[in-house]
């Protein structure tokens, strides 16, 4: 027991310095949803890098640089004083209704991933309505072989999938499901 507690303390002490290290196999998650709204209307709701308020897990978004490349934002999760995720914008294309960002800093206890990057895109559906696709690429939270369960590939995939699904579900509730 004492050893396990010691190891987990050691792990937490070591992990922040490993934010840019990563395991051997990058993972990907792609989720999407069809919405009963015009693509421009959906993009107006989610296309501002400085406002992640459309996602139910986000309490606040603060940032700098607007929607230009290298803009930054800090997402506060849950409630005031909640855990934060630091992100930076590396692609923004309003005409294609798509932007790409990566996490510059997150505690793996909050989101068990490293080297995380993501793209969110709105497209028009044939016959009307919009499709939102959210995809991410990332490594598990533990940088070497034999990861602890909470920081393995499955944990990383489950966590990212959960974030995406919650966001997409909120959009479905807001705009209605596409038929």
């Amino acid at each position: 027991m004492r050893l396990i507690r010691f190891l987990s303390i050691m792990l937490l002490a070591v992990l922040p310095t490993l934010a840019l290290a990563h395991g051997p196999t990058r993972q990907k998650v792609t989720l999407g949803t069809d919405l009963a709204a015009a693509p421009a209307e959906v993009w107006a709701a989610i296309g501002d890098f400085q406002d992640m308020g459309w996602h139910p897990a986000i309490f606040a978004t603060t940032g700098a640089g607007g929607n230009t490349v290298d803009a930054t934002r800090v997402l506060t999760l849950g409630a005031e004083g909640g855990p934060v995720i630091n992100e930076i914008l590396y692609k923004y294309d309003a005409a294609k209704m798509s932007y790409s960002y990566r996490i510059t800093e997150v505690d793996v206890a909050v989101l068990p991933v490293t080297n995380y990057s993501s793209t969110i895109t709105v497209t028009a559906r044939d016959g009307g309505g919009a499709h939102v696709e959210w995809r991410g690429a990332f490594y598990r939270g533990f940088p070497n072989n034999d990861p602890p369960e909470a920081l393995n590939d499955d944990a990383a995939i489950a966590a990212v999938s959960g974030v995406y699904q919650a966001g997409l579900d909120a959009l479905t509730a807001r705009f209605g499901a596409g038929q």
Partner: protein
């Protein structure tokens, strides 16, 4: 009699723009190897390779391709013709990159966890030696003249240069932040793709001197040369930076699939092949016109980290 045969051969040659060659792509997500015919650009076979393979190196002289599965620490030798597994070895640490010294019958495998290059006998796959590198060596390459072995030591921000014959350590060359791939230009200069610096470091392996840098797109991941040009995949740029190999000046940025990683060229130098990790494709670019020539579907998560085209 001879003229018609020659004419027929020429006609066949003209109909097939690239020399007959085979392209091998490690699909890390689906744990297999795509074997793609270079003439038809059709995936001829997909061979299971357990353990999320990433690094690979073709060795035409040995009739083999060597593939590293980092998650299970296994190096495998597969026959170039058909992809049958002809040998495997379980290694210590976390093996990642691989290069082949066919003339000396040696396989060189980086070990992330151990900070070293493992040396294996190409025939028996027995470990015969170990070279100390900096922390987290990823890419490894042998110089075209067979004199130097170089590793890109990701967490040490350096290249480690060794004498390929004696394994004497020669130089530690500082690079930009997080060098991942290492490759030799045809003239013998060595280059690292410095992922977090968005640039390449160019150095002389004989003297250890830095000769210059190349500004790339976001997150450079692989380097290859065709003719007078160098090509670099930009993982976050969904692009390939094209530069003049002599002057190091950037000539063009070519869009490719998403998250491009491994890059290699056809044996005739006319095509560039790019593994698009997110798109699950192998992209093909004309090395001269820089126009896209096509895309081939692969397994999930193609990485092709190493040399992967066999004539």
């Amino acid at each position: 009699m001879r003229a018609p045969i020659l004419a027929a051969a020429l006609a066949i040659g003209l109909a097939a723009p690239a020399a007959a060659e085979t392209i091998y792509v490690t699909n890390q997500g689906s744990s297999d190897l795509s074997i793609i015919d270079g003439d038809s650009l059709i995936e001829a076979a997909r061979v299971p390779v357990p353990g999320n393979p990433a690094g690979l190196a073709v060795a035409p002289a040995l009739g083999a391709v060597f593939v590293v599965s980092p998650e299970t620490r296994v190096l495998r030798r597969l026959a170039l013709n058909g992809g049958a597994i002809t040998g495997e070895a379980v290694l210590d640490g976390l093996p990642m990159g691989v290069a082949v010294d066919a003339a000396r019958g040696r396989i060189l495998v980086t070990d992330w966890a151990g900070g070293r290059i493992l040396v294996l006998d190409a025939a028996t796959l027995a470990v015969t030696g170990s070279l100390a590198t900096g922390a987290v060596p990823a890419g490894v390459a042998l110089s075209p003249d067979g004199r130097f072995v170089v590793s890109a030591d990701r967490d040490a921000d350096q290249l480690s240069v060794f004498d390929a014959e004696t394994f004497a350590p020669l130089h530690r060359i500082p690079t930009g932040h997080h060098p991942w791939a290492v490759a030799f230009a045809p003239d013998g200069r060595v280059l690292s793709a410095d992922v977090l610096a968005d640039s390449l470091t160019v150095a002389d392996p004989a003297t250890g001197r830095i000769l210059g840098h190349v500004a790339t797109g976001a997150r450079p991941y692989g380097i290859a040369f065709a003719g007078t040009r160098g090509f670099v995949t930009n993982q976050y740029g969904d692009s390939v930076t094209v530069f003049d190999a002599a002057t190091l000046r950037v000539e063009a940025t070519v869009p490719v699939g998403e998250y491009p990683e491994g890059i290699d060229v056809s044996s005739d130098g006319r095509r560039v092949y790019v593994a698009n990790w997110m798109s699950n494709t192998l992209g093909v670019i004309d090395a001269q016109s820089l126009e896209p020539l096509g895309e081939v579907a692969t397994g999930d998560g193609p990485r092709a980290f190493g040399r992967f085209v066999a004539p």
